[in-house]
Symmetry: C2
Subunit: 347 residues, 2 copies
């Protein structure tokens, strides 16, 4: 897992190169077919990448995005109309039977189907009309890391190729360095985790583009540390779950500069008053100085508005490192989570 976390900058360079041309072709085809809707089908880590894409396509490309409910396809034999939809199935292994079945059914029903996978020669790739292959290299760790960032990057390349997404092209170029800088936080994070060894549970917060990061870090903590980690969007958190907060509760907050920052600032002031134990992943000093454990990222040299759109791909790196080192500190083996295998087959 650690090797694959560290490999992410190189993996991302490969992904950006591999998907550039197919993404342009697929975007052209979307325009030609008058695609008016995106439907995403995925499970687990890939589903967190789908949540990222949900914000990206709606924001950049003004395309409504529906997350498929694969059970309806697989168990109920039912599917919504999809004639003007781009249906994207995401699975790093390309073997998720339910995601394969969604794509196969969507294709029968006249949707434009795309497989997004790390394995070119896989059932998922064969089920779709088009393939975006991440080429992140083989992933051996059960807890997916480099395939998550590669998948998010491939989705960002596709968004940049679709109408409205042009502004994303420039910051994509420097994305691997941005992730590299985030990975340099490794020694600090390896020390920081000690404080949380005996935490029985934690909450992970992020809003809008960072909501996917909150979900993905929570999943890593569950898989490798057996820590109940519940992710919320900051807004939903206030509609109820905020009642959970008490003195000492670990709360991780992902907050990139952008329109969500004032909300994060207000939230952190409140968490501070409640004496929660906060882990803040941010570039913003006013947030970091309020944190119990600040994790400081560098501000990239790209336009601030587009920097935020790609921030999830850099911000998850400290989350991955945190989960890995916390597992070790708890005497667990992050490379062999109990009860899990690399490919999960759900129907």
């Amino acid at each position: 897992m650690l090797d694959e976390i560290r490999e992410q900058p190189q993996a991302l360079r490969r992904t950006l190169t591999s998907v550039a041309e197919p993404a342009r072709r697929i975007a052209g085809e979307c325009t030609a077919r008058n695609i008016r809707l995106v439907i995403l089908a995925a499970r687990g880590t890939s589903d967190n990448a789908a949540v990222y894409a949900q914000y990206l396509f709606q924001y950049m490309n003004r395309l409504p995005v529906a997350l498929a409910t694969p059970s309806l396809f697989t168990l109920y034999g039912a599917a919504p109309r999809m004639d003007d939809a781009l249906v994207i199935g995401i699975s790093q292994s390309g073997e998720a039977p339910d995601v394969v079945q969604v794509l196969a059914r969507a294709r029968q029903r006249g949707a434009f189907t795309l497989a997004l996978t790390n394995v070119r020669d896989s059932p998922l790739a064969r089920s779709a009309e088009e393939v975006l292959a991440c080429d992140a290299g083989p992933e051996y760790s059960v807890a997916a890391t480099k395939t998550y960032t590669a998948t998010c990057a491939a989705l960002a390349v596709l968004a940049s190729a679709l109408p409205g997404g042009e502004r994303l092209a420039a910051p994509l170029v420097s994305l691997p360095e941005r992730v590299e800088e985030a990975i340099h936080l490794e020694p600090q994070i390896a020390r920081d985790v000690a404080r949380y060894v005996h935490a029985p549970e934690c909450i992970v917060l992020g809003r809008a583009f960072q909501y996917s990061t909150a979900r993905e870090m929570a999943l890593k903590l569950e898989e490798t540390c057996y820590l109940i980690a519940t992710p919320f969007s900051t807004a939903d958190f206030r509609h109820g779950p905020a009642a959970l907060v008490e003195r000492g509760l670990p709360v991780v907050v992902f907050a990139a500069p952008g329109p969500c920052l004032p909300d994060a600032r207000e939230l952190l002031a409140w968490l501070h008053d409640q004496r929660a134990d906060t882990v803040v992943v941010s570039e913003d000093e006013s947030l970091l100085e309020r944190a119990t454990t600040p994790i400081r990222l560098h501000t990239p040299e790209v336009a601030a508005d587009v920097a935020e759109l790609l921030s999830p791909i850099a911000y998850i790196a400290p989350g991955q490192l945190f989960a890995h080192y916390l597992a070790l500190e708890r005497g667990l083996d992050p490379d062999h989570p109990r009860g899990l295998t690399k490919v999960t087959r759900t129907r």
Copy 2:
């Protein structure tokens, strides 16, 4: 909270009467305007009702359903194209500023807008072209209960009025009695909760139509018991979070008869092997006999396939009662959750 849980059968009768005619008119308008997409905007408990509707409209009416990302509307000033969409804003109080803003923007952009609320004279109702008012009566408890089931019922009435939904009309008539029977479990549940007084955390599982029930019960446990309760769809649970399970971990499973039952049976056998402490809400004897704490619902006298579609509205009742009595048993006041107010204003 307890009064409002018990009031649900009467509240549902009012809802079914109130929404019948407007739902028919709105469905007719959807056909006239050639609506091809549903976008739902909601927070908290209302968002769990939206998750129920996501399955319902996609399954019964073959309409793709997107859950709106209100932050994009409110903080980023961006919105996807919505010209052939029915945009439904859900808020029991009708005051959620972000949901109001989504509807106002959607209306400007030519979408067909619908406010689903318990308060006829509210900002949400004023922002939309059409209103479905639940008429569940005033809700005083901070933790929403009767407005959740009323909202789900109103959405089911709308689904039954839209093309493809006709089969739902008959079982809707007997829904209030079905909920009444579920509420008769109160004395048993008041005793059952003692076992879970010292649980530091729990997991709540449900699949497809019951996924919303899992989310809603988890939210009630968080709000009233300050118990970290993480909901998963059974399928997503296997893609990682299953690693959390260990001897004695409380796992609540909602499993109505239907295509998901074999999956639930397999899951329960596995949880049994792991010696998890299972609370099973079901009608199925083979599942209930495997449970640490079985909560047995009656099978309604309606066709099995449509019975499942409405089951979430009955199955949540034991979940609400469980949260209420567990809070009392933990020495907490479920009517006054710390840090929350009845109307949450997020932007």
